[in-house]
Amino acid sequence: MAINTDQLLDSARRLRAEIGGDVHDRLTASIYAEAEQIADRAVTQSGQRSRFDFDRTLDRILTSRRWGFPAMFVLLLGVFWLTIAGANIPSQILSTLLLDWGYTWLHQGATLLNAPTWLSGLLIDGVYMATAWVVAVMLPPMAIFFPLFTLLEDFGYLPRVAFNLDRLFHRAGAHGKQALSMVMGYGCNAAGVVATRIIESPRERLIAIITNNFSICNGRWPTLILMGTIFIGATAPPFLASFVAAGSVVAVAILGIVVTLLVSAFLSRTWLKGETSTFSLELPPYRPPRVWQTIYTSIIDRTLIVLWRAVTMAAPAGAVIWLSSNIYIGDMSIAGHMVSLLNPLGLLIGLNGVILFAYIVAIPANEIVVPTILMLTMTLGANLAGAQPGVMLELDDAQVYTVLTQLGGWTMLTAVNLMLFSLLHNPCSTTILTIWNETQNRKWTMVATLLPLGLAFLVTFTTASVARLLGWA
């Protein structure tokens, strides 16, 4: 029985040398020959081909050099316009239900039960409000956006996006498949990071992992959509408002692609130098999307799962926010201390202390950034304005605008920079953990976390400075 495994490997090596180095090519060649022979016998092509080749005609437009990008822009614009225009009414209904009625009922119930103020405050003003806001802000746009996006995916459009972007990724010294992991990141960056496994070269895979953050994920779309709607869309005449809002969100998404390419190019010319691999991407046929099934699965799989994640994050975050704004050290609450500590830095980059504090609270999940900002602005801002906390509850878009501009002192610059910061800042803790799992390398995990954060500060500082120099803000 005693054959040594080393002996076995030795003779394999010897035989390989005898044959000559091209074993791999010879094996591949005989597999191909065999496959061709079998396929030839099994497949017959009938004479009459359909005269109108739908796929090829469509691809001629969607992947053409001239029309590929405009078509992509129009499709994205359409998706976001439907999302923003469609989410308006359900959003209002939900905020009336959850924030106005639900909140009042709960407080009445608490009074009936003689619950102590700290308890009802913690549970209703903290936990309930944060969760209710997350649901009201996120559910309607997500319930429209995800099915639409999934329909595009089911139809077969995403590989065309990858095809269009392939040339640009090549020029950036990255792998063309990065376009696919990038598109995956539009759902969730953690999933996008895992998807980079399709890239063979470790160098190009690292580039794809580090830049995946610039694909806007589920948790960040709502922030962008809200800012686009209440600040940017509102500057246009009403009949154009939702188009302008959608346009601003698409602009940020495209900026994300530009940043992905720039950072990839930067990395592949500095720390991650090397050859660019070639690959072939197969464009699948267009398939008529299965509308009902897609809507069903995208609502169950994406919308509700993302919403559930947001809710489970929002509930403890709500408690943290309430506690931090109701526990006093000296004459100020903990949140007050934090916010005034962060305020100078925040204002320097065109944001404010509340936003930066919200981003610290929201490290586990970007979904809760907007609710956190709103809650903190109202509690802290109300104190500044001398009003009672928790007066404005029926928050439709117009009232959110009032709260942010009047209590929070927001300007257009704040909104634009929040959109930019949301696009660029560090990945959420789940994604960071996934990056660590995939790379098993402390240094690259740090780079993937801190490089985006540094970029976010740099870009927002620049826009704030430029806006101030030109007298816009």
């Binding site: 495994t5 597999i31 099994a42 497949v43 017959t44 009938s46 359909s50 696919l180 895992v194 398939r287």
Partner: protein, 285 residues
């Protein structure tokens, strides 16, 4: 092409009358989702990217793994279960790959599972409209394992493109069952289940096509190495494939030889093929 898209089992009185009919068993699919303890058989689902593996996976398990019309969607393996007849099956959805030869992470996941996971059946889903390129993978899977079922998917699209695929010819050439399907429409799922069941129970004796390398030098090297491998790891089910990998200088297989992972394959081997191999070894000795 067979069209059988009825999944609902007949109602109770009819069921009593049908119990002896072989067609009846075809309707006995119970989707177990992720509840899969104590399975009888493990089924691996392989195939090129974007051929509908996840659609088949969902149809069999009742799970709703996200499907998307683009290659490279599944990079980690998903698992689910179903009950067919009285047997419990665990189904593992592998990442889509064009080959098992190169070394990207997703191809390694697929290959390692087929090799080391030793599934009772490996189902290769192929795209009927791109048969030749898909067969490259089928042939490579057939080198590793005998127990293969080919799901000839997207037959509806092939028809739309004016292609006729002769599945019986294909089955004869490959030596394994070939099931025509249109998984998105639920067509062919029953026939696939039946084929999986037959191969798993050993009722369908497969005679897999092995790639013939018209290259005497290579073949004699393979023969030499196979003898040594079978001596070092008696009972290894795919010595020829291992020999080819070693000749190709495949580092992960070299590692598996060195650290004994490959040796373990001889112990967990399913009982059926073992005796014949032992006989051959005695002849060699």
């Amino acid at each position: 092409m067979t069209v059988d898209n009825t999944v609902t089992p007949p109602s109770a009185p009819i069921a009593a009358a049908c119990a002896t009919c072989p067609m009846y068993n075809g309707a006995q699919l119970t989707r177990l989702g992720i509840n899969m303890t104590d399975w009888d058989y493990v089924v691996a689902l392989a195939g090129n990217p974007n051929t509908g593996k996840s659609t088949v996976f969902n149809a069999l398990t009742g799970l709703r793994q996200h499907t998307g019309n683009w290659p490279g969607k599944t990079v980690v393996r998903a698992e689910g279960g179903f009950l067919y007849g009285d047997k419990r099956y665990k189904l593992v959805d592998l990442p889509g790959t064009y080959s098992l030869l190169s070394t990207s992470a997703d191809e390694e996941v697929a290959r390692d599972f087929i090799l080391f996971g030793q599934p009772s059946v490996t189902v290769v889903i192929v795209d009927a409209t791109r048969l030749e390129r898909n067969l490259n993978l089928v042939l490579q899977v057939l080198e590793i394992t005998d127990r293969v079922v080919v799901g000839l998917n997207l037959m509806d699209e092939a028809k739309r493109h004016g292609l006729q695929v002769d599945e019986r010819r294909l089955a004869r050439d490959l030596g394994v069952p070939v099931v025509p399907m249109a998984a998105r429409q639920g067509e062919g799922i029953q026939a696939l289940l039946k084929a999986i069941d037959e191969v798993a129970r050993g009722m369908y004796a497969t005679r897999p096509r092995r790639i013939h390398h018209r290259d005497p030098q290579l073949e004699s090297a393979v023969a030499q190495l196979v003898r040594q491998i079978e001596f070092a790891f008696p009972g290894l089910p795919n010595a020829r494939w291992v020999a080819l990998r070693l000749l190709d200088g495949d580092e992960s297989i070299e590692r598996a030889v060195r650290d004994g992972t490959l040796g373990q394959l001889t112990q967990t081997l399913t009982p059926q093929p073992a005796p014949t191999i032992r006989l051959e070894l005695e002849a060699v000795n």
